[in-house]
């Protein structure tokens, strides 16, 4: 009986090793999801894509029309990959507002010319303040904002062809 008591620490250690070994074989999920889903879009007022373009503010979102809010950048390679999918969503009638992170008007113009312009409006967020307020941790990320200005869905990473229907459905559901 006394001997059994002595091997308990060893058993605990073996259990710990087992759990650690199991976790090592599991794929690691490094995505940091926003905890802003279901909450109102944070208030913002940012300059447009060029210096003479109109400013883009959070107020435009609460007009009854659901929209996509696409956090992207011209220096972001996956953003090039998702450009055709954004184009497809725009073609299906989804209004897309872009927020370009740490970007330049010239670079934005060049990007749009090269890869297409699916955006209803583009804002420049030079210090990622709106990105941080959204709980977004990288580019590209796409949020579905409903007609009341509530954040309904977050898609992390580039939108693949296989994601288009799901995002369209989330947009439809936000109506």
């Amino acid at each position: 009986m006394k001997k059994l008591w002595l091997i308990i620490p060893l058993m605990l250690f073996a259990l710990f090793l087992g759990v650690a070994a199991y976790q090592l074989t599991q794929p690691r999920d490094t995505l940091v999801r926003s905890t802003m889903i279901g909450k109102p879009l944070p208030a913002f007022d940012l300059p447009g894509a060029t210096d003479d373009a109109p400013r883009v503010a959070s107020g435009m979102f609460a007009d009854g029309q659901p929209r996509l809010l696409n956090v992207w950048a011209t220096w972001c390679v996956p953003c090039i990959a998702e450009a055709p999918q954004l184009e497809e969503l725009a073609k299906r009638g989804v209004p897309i507002v872009g927020i370009a992170i740490r970007d330049e008007p010239e670079a934005i113009a060049q990007f749009l010319e090269q890869y297409g312009d699916p955006y209803a409006a583009i804002a420049r967020d030079d210090i990622a303040e709106v990105q941080l307020a959204l709980g977004s941790s990288g580019v590209p990320e796409t949020f579905v904002i409903d007609g009341k200005g509530i954040i309904r869905h977050q898609h992390i990473g580039d939108i693949r062809e296989s994601d288009v229907d799901e995002i369209y459905a989330k947009w439809e559901a936000a109506k």
Binding site: V32, S34, D103, I127, L132, L134
Partner: protein, 140 residues
Amino acid sequence: MTPFPLLAAAMLSLSAPIAGPAAGQMTSSAPLANTQLADAQQEASAQALMEELRCLTCQSQSIADSNAPMAGDMRHQVRSRIAAGESPEQVRAWLVERYGDYVSYRPGLDSATWPLFALPVLFLLVAGAILFRRLGRRGE
């Protein structure tokens, strides 16, 4: 704090241009990303908080330790909010509200984390009880 902050900063600044794909996002242009606050006490509390906040793009570093542009933008948020009179805990709460507990290196006490605080106390009590019994027995 890393043991060699200067060395770490030098290594990071050397590696950053190789890691990034293009010039645009290399550094944060936020005014307070790399500029200390004039008020030394505010800067000290901002610095202490930055050591406890996770860099979201380089997840094993704090934002104080990281040269990533996003870490710079987060430092700007911390400094500007503290300069505006917010307490460090208010700034932490602002980030936790957006990113969840993961963004903070200092775990709060809740239904998921209580064993973290309770187990050491339990271990101490058990060890104390064993010691007490052994020593007590010897004294007899």
